[in-house]
Symmetry: C2
Subunit: 149 residues, 2 copies
DNA sequence: TTATTATGTATCCAATATAGATACATTTAG
DNA sequence: CTAAATGTATCTATATTGGATACATAATAA
């Protein structure tokens, strides 16, 4: 099964940014799930990760729900990625490689370095966008997609 | 199950680069598999991808085997990644997201752009290393790991 | 020509990770 | 106290990968 946690979380965060811009509205896990085309359980599994990272603020109980914990402009997409993925490296090498030659002896260290470098490049790319800017991009996309007349 | 095709392929390519530097030696899928801690079947599933990408040259039949098709200096790691991963995007968004609002209407386009950008950054990072340079790095790692006296 | 020894593939099974569904404990506002 | 939200546990279905076996195909040595 394909891992859709990052795209799903990103859509949740964009929905929260939109709700914030429309007057600090709280969204429930059910509403977030319907918007993202998934079910409330998955949303409720993701919320604590975002909450621990300080990106959202969650209120339990009646009249509770979810909102962004910071202005949309201050939430860059790399922090969302990190909140969901955690310490998991982008790529994982095979374990139990026998040590027999220059390559097999040191592939693990080498691959670790390579992975960290690539990850850094990836996160830097994500850090160039924030939620507010992304909402603007969504608006531009919607405008472009309108049928011409 | 964790996907180890890229790390495995990278190790195979490094082994081939080492074999090349030691006198254009051919390696069999069995030898490559033993070095990488896997089985010949997986290696033989990966070889055609590298071959189609023009990175290796494979000879069937008795006395056959695998060698690099180009000098190690001219094989950058991004081409290896592309050969194995193909067109598969780095991240895949969920399908069947209902179109109901600014976010859900346009998330698919937005996420596609984001993914392509991140992928580009990733490949650029990989393109900074080639196989020859990587062998040198393996040698440096091995030297550093020697116990001091 | 024949035996040997490579790769290329098909097939099957096992292991693993994620998504989805249900249920229920916990928390909080009214 | 009730209603309604999140937090979590558990189970199942599904998809993907890796490993094993077998065999077709190809090419070389003898």
């Amino acid at each position: 099964m394909i891992d859709v946690r990052f795209p799903t979380t990103l859509q949740m965060m964009l929905s929260l940014a939109l709700a914030q811009s429309e007057g600090d509205i709280l969204l429930s896990s059910t509403q977030l799930a319907e918007g993202a085309g998934t079910n409330p359980t998955l949303v409720r599994r993701l919320l604590p990760l975002l909450s621990k990272a300080g990106l959202i603020s969650v209120t339990k109980g009646r009249e509770g729900g979810v909102r962004l914990a910071r202005p949309a402009r201050e939430v860059t997409l790399d922090t969302i990625y990190r909140a969901i993925v955690g310490d998991e490296p982008l790529w994982t090498a095979r374990e139990n490689v026998p040590h027999r030659c220059l390559v097999s002896n040191n592939i693990s260290s080498f691959f670790g370095r390579l992975t960290r470098e690539a990850e850094e490049a990836l996160l830097l790319s994500l850090s160039r966008r924030d939620l507010a800017e992304s909402l603007e991009e969504l608006r531009r996309i919607e405008t472009c997609a309108l049928p011409g007349r």
